[in-house]
Symmetry: C2
Subunit: 193 residues, 2 copies
């Protein structure tokens, strides 16, 4: 009976996330999103309620995708240290790939929205905890295999690695070249010995 949706919900959120990352929440207009997705105004409001909900859903999807990428690393036949190294090299690669379209929606959300939107704040906070936990697990594994020498509790290093990660995402938006990001990663990894 009913006509079926002519667009893919995931693709729309993907595009929305892309624009929100570039222009921020308040810098992005509904028209920007309509233009980029080809959607009609009514379809958008029908499927995503309003701009604020669209943003939150795009942010959640972004988080889910990042998390999935981490899980893929987690499934690999690598030791904890190698997994950490892989994540950082992939992040740097991703940040550098397109110098004029880099950055991270999660970091930008923390900067622009977390003080004004409780829901955004929670997503950002949950993401932090989840990534740190994954880092913790990898560090423990590396410790078990005598690949690192730590003289502080494991969670210190999970927090430290996550902090480095956030820093890199800011640095890449501050005009840092690849060498600079690489150097930061080198010192960060050396801190585990």
């Amino acid at each position: 009976m009913p006509k079926v949706k002519q667009f893919n919900r995931g693709h729309v959120l993907q595009e929305a996330a892309h624009i929100f990352r570039q222009k921020g929440y308040n810098g992005t207009s509904i028209d920007d999103i309509l233009k980029a997705t080809g959607l009609s105004r009514s379809s958008l409001y029908d499927s995503f309620q309003d701009k604020h909900n669209l943003y939150l859903q795009a942010l959640e999807m972004y988080k889910k995708q990042e998390n999935q990428a981490y899980q893929e690393v987690h499934q690999k036949q690598l030791n904890g240290l190698e997994k950490i190294e892989l994540v950082f090299s992939e992040v740097v690669k991703h940040l550098i790939e397109n110098p004029h379209d880099n950055g991270c929606l999660m970091v930008n959300a923390a900067a622009e929205m977390s003080k004004q939107c409780e829901k955004t704040s929670q997503v950002v906070c949950n993401n932090k905890d989840e990534v740190q936990n994954l880092f913790d697990a990898w560090i423990k594994d590396a410790q078990k295999n005598n690949l690192v020498k730590l003289n502080k509790p494991v969670e210190f290093y999970g927090q430290f690695l996550y902090n480095t990660l956030c820093g890199l995402k800011v640095l890449s938006q501050s005009g840092a070249a690849k060498t600079e990001l690489d150097n930061v990663v080198k010192v960060t990894l050396a801190a585990l010995n």
Copy 2:
């Protein structure tokens, strides 16, 4: 002859920087700024041209003030390592002091504006270089006094420290408690040994 300005230019920029830091550029309206400063519309446009120029001037002032704080540390009778430690403890203290009004205009500018505004991008980039250079100098001093053991070029560590700094400012906007920031600083400083 002329009536003298009824407001202090620095105070206005200070207030503007405060609001821009809280709400971002696009999230802040002229009315927000008028309300916070008590200025009249005409005075604001007379003295600061338009919103975009006001933002840039507020950002420049913010940078100058941060730089001045760094210079004050630089003048102290401390060795390089102590200066680094002092800066980090002051930054953490500052970020934690008011949990609902933390963050950093420079980091937020990098996230929200640097991709869209060349001038913002330049300020952010210059700030990075200046702080890194200062860190470099302090690290060299610490090295001279055998307070640190480094097996990589000095500038690696300047870049690394600046990265940690940016990370802290994102972390504090991601719901991190003081202990967490302290832990990050501890591991960062331990990386210099």
